[in-house]
């Protein structure tokens, strides 16, 4: 199963990707929302799951998932917060 991982912090991204890959998932990891968007709209790549960070440089994770319903990509966003440090 192909998984999209969007995480701008390299140490976290590497750890998540390593864990998912170790469990048999095919992981496409990108550092920013715009690249993630180009992966999502690509007919070559079909994702069943996307793990998208909220705070990203440029386009945020929330802005990214807001665009999903209009594109009929078959992905339903389920946002949840794991940690957040102030504003």
């Amino acid at each position: 199963m192909r998984v999209l991982l969007v995480e701008d912090q390299e140490d976290i991204g590497q750890a998540v990707k390593r864990t998912l890959t170790h469990n048999g998932y095919l992981v496409d990891w990108t550092l920013d929302g715009e690249t993630a968007w180009s992966y999502l709209i690509s007919p070559e790549l079909e994702y069943r799951v996307g793990i998208i960070d909220w705070m990203l440089p440029g386009l945020s994770g929330l802005e990214l998932i807001r665009e999903l319903p209009a594109q009929n990509l078959g992905l339903k966003p389920r946002p949840f917060r794991t940690a957040f440090l102030g504003f």
């Binding site: 920013d32 715009e34 690249t35 180009s38 007919p43 440089p57 440029g58 386009l59 802005e63």
Partner: protein, 308 residues
């Protein structure tokens, strides 16, 4: 009434050809042969390496999903509509901001330098000063960009100097300012060279006449210098804008994840994980159209001595 009037002008069709008239025909054949020989190779080169690849890109841009081994079947403008997604428009807008910002910075920093070299520096020094500006172009653009990374990174030269002086360090790398600094540095020599060519032709007598008629230096600058050198300013600005719009190296190496541009997005479609050749081709066609429009403006308003 029926008498025949002799024709005033000789009947060209009925007059037999003389030897003298045959010679131009041979010359004409020779000139056509010369034109074919001269223009044939570059024409063939243009068709094979520019026209045909552009047509292939255009054809690919009309295919929604291309998979290896499948027949290319152009079927619509879906890829072009994708360009106008809100998210992709942000990328296009960011590319325009980088190109425009670089153009303005190059103009603001390049004009005083070019003016000084063209109008105030000793004549014997001018070529040497211009050479100083061209020198960085002799090195690889990749090396120059890596040099900027060593200057701008958190523990780099700039922050070392700032902290030594007791000033707070700056976080520039992987942000927009770093991209603008790198792009401005890359394209400043082009701007200075073009502005110099234009400012060198500036008639100093006009500046003196303006001062004699009571204009202060600022008025002279706005009402004499700028209009006189406008074609050079237009040529330099459009050249920097065009090259800046398609820049890949500076946003990729200095901007990090926060500086996705059209060229990076195109790269991603062809050589990155997205593998969406149709969308990449549509983006390429949009970029080609935008650059062509800028070149048309350059040819119309730019300094002909510089642009041709």
């Amino acid at each position: 009434m029926s008498e025949k009037i002799a024709p005033i002008l000789p009947d060209v069709e009925s007059t037999p050809e003389t030897e003298e008239e045959v010679i131009p025909s041979e010359e004409s054949n020779t000139s056509w042969l010369g034109i074919t020989v001269l223009l044939g190779p570059p024409g063939l080169w243009l068709i094979l390496l520019l026209v045909l690849p552009t047509l292939v890109i255009f054809e690919l841009s009309l295919v929604p999903g291309i998979r290896p081994g499948e027949v290319v079947n152009p079927s619509g403008l879906e890829n072009y509509w994708r360009v106008f997604d809100a998210i992709n428009l942000r990328v296009v807008a960011r590319s325009l901001v980088f190109a425009t910002g670089t153009t303005l910075l190059c103009l603001l920093t390049g004009f005083p330098v070019a003016y000084w070299i063209a109008q105030m520096a000793p004549k014997g020094w001018r070529n040497l000063l211009l050479l100083g500006f061209i020198l960085p172009l002799w090195t690889s653009s990749l090396l120059r960009t890596y040099a900027w990374i060593t200057i701008l990174r958190p523990t780099g030269v700039l922050n070392t100097v700032l902290t030594t002086l007791g000033l707070p360090g700056l976080e520039l790398l992987n942000r927009t300012p770093a991209v603008l600094i790198g792009m401005t540095y890359s394209y400043l020599p082009y701007m200075v060279l073009i502005l110099y060519a234009s400012l060198e032709k500036l008639d100093r007598q006009l500046l003196e006449a303006s001062a004699d008629l009571g204009a202060n230096p600022l008025e002279t600058f706005w009402k004499v210098t700028i209009p006189q050198t406008f074609p050079g300013i237009a040529a330099g600005s459009l050249l920097v804008f065009i090259t800046g719009l398609g820049d890949f190296i500076d946003p990729e190496l200095l901007g990090g994840a926060s500086s996705m541009t059209i060229s990076r997005l195109i790269y991603n479609q062809f050589l990155g994980a997205a593998r969406n050749w149709g969308f990449g081709s549509a983006l390429s066609m949009v970029l080609i159209f935008a650059v062509s429009a800028a070149i048309a403006l350059l040819l119309k308003y730019g300094d002909r001595d510089v642009t041709t």
